[in-house]
Symmetry: C2
Subunit: 340 residues, 2 copies
Amino acid sequence: MTIDNEEEVITLGHGAGGVLTGKLVRDIFLNQFNNQVLSRLGDAALLDIDAHRMAFTTDSFVISPLFFKGGDIGRLSVCGTVNDLAVMGAEPLFIAAGFIIGEGFSLRKLEAIAQSMRAAADEAGVAIVTGDTKVVRSQDIDELFITTSGIGRLDTAKGLSARPVTPGDTIIISGTVGEHGMSIFIEREAIALAHAITSDVAPLNGMIRAVLEGGCEVRCMRDPTRGGVATALNELAEEKGVDLLIRQEHIPVSEEVAACCEILGFDPLYIANEGKALFVIDPEDAQKAIAILRKHPYGKEAQVIGSVLEGKGHKVFLETFSGAHRQLEELTEDQLPRIC
Amino acid sequence: MTIDNEEEVITLGHGAGGVLTGKLVRDIFLNQFNNQVLSRLGDAALLDIDAHRMAFTTDSFVISPLFFKGGDIGRLSVCGTVNDLAVMGAEPLFIAAGFIIGEGFSLRKLEAIAQSMRAAADEAGVAIVTGDTKVVRSQDIDELFITTSGIGRLDTAKGLSARPVTPGDTIIISGTVGEHGMSIFIEREAIALAHAITSDVAPLNGMIRAVLEGGCEVRCMRDPTRGGVATALNELAEEKGVDLLIRQEHIPVSEEVAACCEILGFDPLYIANEGKALFVIDPEDAQKAIAILRKHPYGKEAQVIGSVLEGKGHKVFLETFSGAHRQLEELTEDQLPRIC
């Protein structure tokens, strides 16, 4: 038994993607389901089926509100799964979708959401091939949860290098951070702004393919969703056994997101993105990768934001505007629940 | 647009697996996601990835209560997905699990459920390789939804015959019907019975493999979950373009389930099963299949229950105890919500 306290219960923080989620996954799920594939804890599982290497992933979406500037739960549920596969170096092929719908939910809204899933699937070049629908009594007439799962093909020729992440490797982000989380927060809290923030939700497989096929030596990728860039980098540092350094002045943040975060006391490095990828890449290929990314509609603001350090402390450091280095911790509290 | 009425909303019946679920799937999901794989609407999608044929399926589980005699939502979520793959003739290999958990849910209960998933996965010989956890505010401290997805390998040598279902083919059920649904109903309504009914929830891939490897010419299989045997057979008749006849006197029903259904006014043919398979099989192999099934712990009560007719009305007929034939309609109303 791994639960210390008989009375311990799930809190919103367990779903935030940070420290508590990690503890829950290790204490309960890894402990019970223990197997080599799961314990790698990537954005998708890498499977060997006969001579084929495949990627397999699942994500449940509980976002509230269901419709927001730049997208809806439908687009999000397809893009989230497409991106989980793409950052593992896989070509997303097939999506399964499970719907849990509150009694009283509008069929028109459900149709609009399905339309949006189809549009995202078409854009990503994937097919939604199987699904399931369940209905539950609900206090909330707007209750809809979508769980998408995806299968991707891993072409090892184009896939990720088996070489480890090494000191000197370059860290790139494909664009400005924090748009998705701030968009949802503003929508939900009905904060009136001169310019509402648009979520960045987008399928990134095309952009990622361009980088891989462009011959860039990509060591690994991550999609910085729940918990933002800071959490994704902490997971990476932990998994690869390295330290990372990013520079605050190089991190692209839109004026709107920066202003909102300032006013509301959020750090954009912890805010969820749904259309951004982090790359760790051979420093010799960094400029080539930046050039390829900036040519792609979803990578126009791509930036080198830092590098892999010599240390083995599994830590992420931020060089602030003043030049000081401070450790960037994993997310410990849930800033924004139900963000995806 | 396919929604007749602007004000139309989701009802519990849309999740019951019968006529309304079918209409929802056709009007919204098939209409939007339209592709050849999805439109086959099997228990799992059949995919061609390079030279490989795979099966892919997803199911959301919203059962209430979470723990019941014979199992819990964990065992159910693994067995449901294993069985969806197995009845497509696939060998289940990998499972993904998405958890949506209400705030305040007991970690001890979650651990017990994960333990139960692991036990079912071990029994079925599958690995739970990837997952996701989301937490939502909930009125109900016992709220937990699990969506499992599964991938299976289709070995065409052992797989299903491409031959169509033809008049004269035999219909077999692997055991007594209605245990799962009645078990949940009794648990939920706190009905005191001398002998509580035990759910039949079980992974059927081993039993199904025995039949296929035993050289039986199986035309197709179904797992009669939501909507029961009557609904599964109606879907089969519709898909294959045939009429079916089953004989009431041959349908195995336990004394407890028969008595409960009698008192409560339910028809066991419409009650969900979670550990039964329907086989349509070459009549020459029917007795061999029955012999193989009865040797398996989950097939001891296997029975020939009917056959495929000459007609093309896509209808299912029941020969009653008195010898009369009446049409067995698809489920139209939800007898028992949140049964799986």
